[in-house]
Amino acid sequence: MLELRNVQTYYGNIQALKDVNMILREGEIITLIGANGAGKTTTLMSISGIVPPRSGEILFMNRPLTQLSPDAIVALGLSQVPEGRRIFPNLTVTENLDMGAFLRRDKDGIRKDLEYVFDLFPILAQRRHQPGGTLSGGEQQMLAISRALMARPRLLLMDEPSLGLAPMYVKLIFDIIRKINQENGTPIFLVEQNAHMALRVAHRGYVMENGRITLEGTADSLLHNEDVKRAYIGA
């Protein structure tokens, strides 16, 4: 349902993505792993239109995204949990969630989804009137995931959801990722540095180095690949 074909993205004169080809099928979790600065976040920014590619094609449900503005891309059903969570610090938890549903008009559906995310993360319900900036890192990550879910996405993009979190939150977040995928069938594009955890929830994986995809395959095969083990898992 999502396809990147020969995507090349630049920051000024610096090429960040070189000929990237990826594919994500209905219902699937794929993960993009790689070192810092490999171009993982840029890949997501290119898909969501914040840093549009200079050449190549990005297709979502057979529609090209490369000419669309970020808000039009969100309207097609792509929703993002960005790197660093990016909670609106002075909006309350509820207001942050409202912003997630910004493009929706179905009041009943929004209310139902609000109950759903409060069910998923009961701590958010307790903190609903608090400004987002006062939450702990783990709570903010839950809020960022919930905000993305409030859009009722057709595809969820997640950038390093486990970064900087305490181990107990890391496990919780990965459990939730699996749950979202299994219960709603929502496909997930997961960018991670924690290759070990990511490959255990994903169906397939891609490895990126210096803006290029250097390896791809099923999650299992990557998990047991010697190069991947040495470079990203450290075993």
């Binding site: 970020p70 929703s79 960005p82 493009l103």
Partner: protein, 300 residues
């Protein structure tokens, strides 16, 4: 005591007008980090529009409150169109450029609009009719607060309440706050940031036009240069309160209004600007981000 109260009310009136203009500066700064130097000119254009509409309506035989209401409406609409257009022409094409470029563009727009009005109208002062009605119930208090002052202060208060409701509770208000806090993230939840920026300019311009009509009625004369002076004062007030902060702009405006009023009343009108700017310098020494400003920027 009466003298004190009179000065207090005088300061409140001035402060109200400054606040109506300062809000435009601070809201625009909050969203795109630009000091919109052409904002004072929008206020001036509001006053000129009201003068033209009022003159035409009076010549065609209308009078009283209907002239006031129509002049207000047309001035607000016309100024909003100006604000919208100025952003599209002078700032939007520079969205990706360094911060200095839109600032220079704003100064250019300010000079252009002043000269445009000077050439299209006149460089002389024009008398402005007092459109605001005399309120009989204010008569016993006339030595402290006239009808005009009462109308200015209450109108401003009502406008502020409406603005607060808009920003706190409406969808576009939430989108404005979200955009001010993290523009890229706002885009990632589907906010059309260009529309939010346009809306901010329209609201700021409408507020400035309200201030323009009120003060022109109060003072009784206008020329093409009033926007520049009022703009500098309102900008000072916005910085005083903490640029980017909406309550800060109101607080800064009131403090500035009172400082000027008391300095004029107890010292000399020659010193009003000295006191106003000395206060600004003092506050910026001890609180560089203004009274209610954020001390750190959270932009990435």
């Amino acid at each position: 005591m009466d003298y004190f109260l009179e000065l207090f009310i005088g300061g409140l009136t001035r402060g109200s007008i400054y606040a109506l203009i300062a809000l435009g500066y601070t809201m625009v700064y909050g969203i795109i980090e630009l000091i919109n130097f052409a904002h004072g000119e929008i206020y001036m254009i509001g006053a000129f529009t009201a003068l033209i509409v009022a003159t035409i309506l009076t010549m065609s035989g209308m009078s009283g409150v209907s002239v006031l209401v129509l002049a207000f409406l047309v001035a607000v609409l016309y100024s909003s169109c100006y604000g919208f257009t100025v952003e599209k022409i002078a700032y939007k094409p520079l969205r990706g450029a360094s911060r200095l470029s839109p600032l220079i563009s704003a100064i250019g727009m300010s000079i252009f609009l002043q000269n445009y009005v000077m050439l299209a109208q006149t460089s002389d002062f024009l008398p402005f009719p007092n459109l605001l009605p005399e309120l009989p119930f204010m008569e016993p208090y006339a030595h402290i607060m006239g009808s005009t002052e009462f109308i200015i202060v209450t109108t401003t208060a009502v406008v502020m309440i409406l603005l607060t409701i808009l920003i706190k509770f409406t969808k576009i208000g939430k989108a404005m706050r979200a955009t001010a806090q993290d523009r890229n993230m706002a885009m990632l939840v589907g906010v059309n940031v260009n529309r939010v920026i346009s809306t901010t300019f329209i609201i700021g311009s409408a507020l400035a036009a309200v201030g323009g009509v009120l003060i022109a009625s109060h003072i009784g004369r206008i020329n093409f240069y009033i926007g520049f002076i009022a703009g500098i004062k309102a900008f000072t007030a916005a910085v005083l309160g903490g640029i980017g902060s909406i309550p800060g702009a109101v607080l800064g405006s009131l403090i500035l209004g009172w400082t000027e009023s008391f300095a004029t009343g107890y010292v000399s009108s020659d010193y009003e600007d000295v006191f106003a700017f000395a206060l600004l310098v003092l506050i910026l020494i001890f609180r560089p981000s203004g009274l209610l400003g954020r001390s750190t920027t959270q932009k990435v």
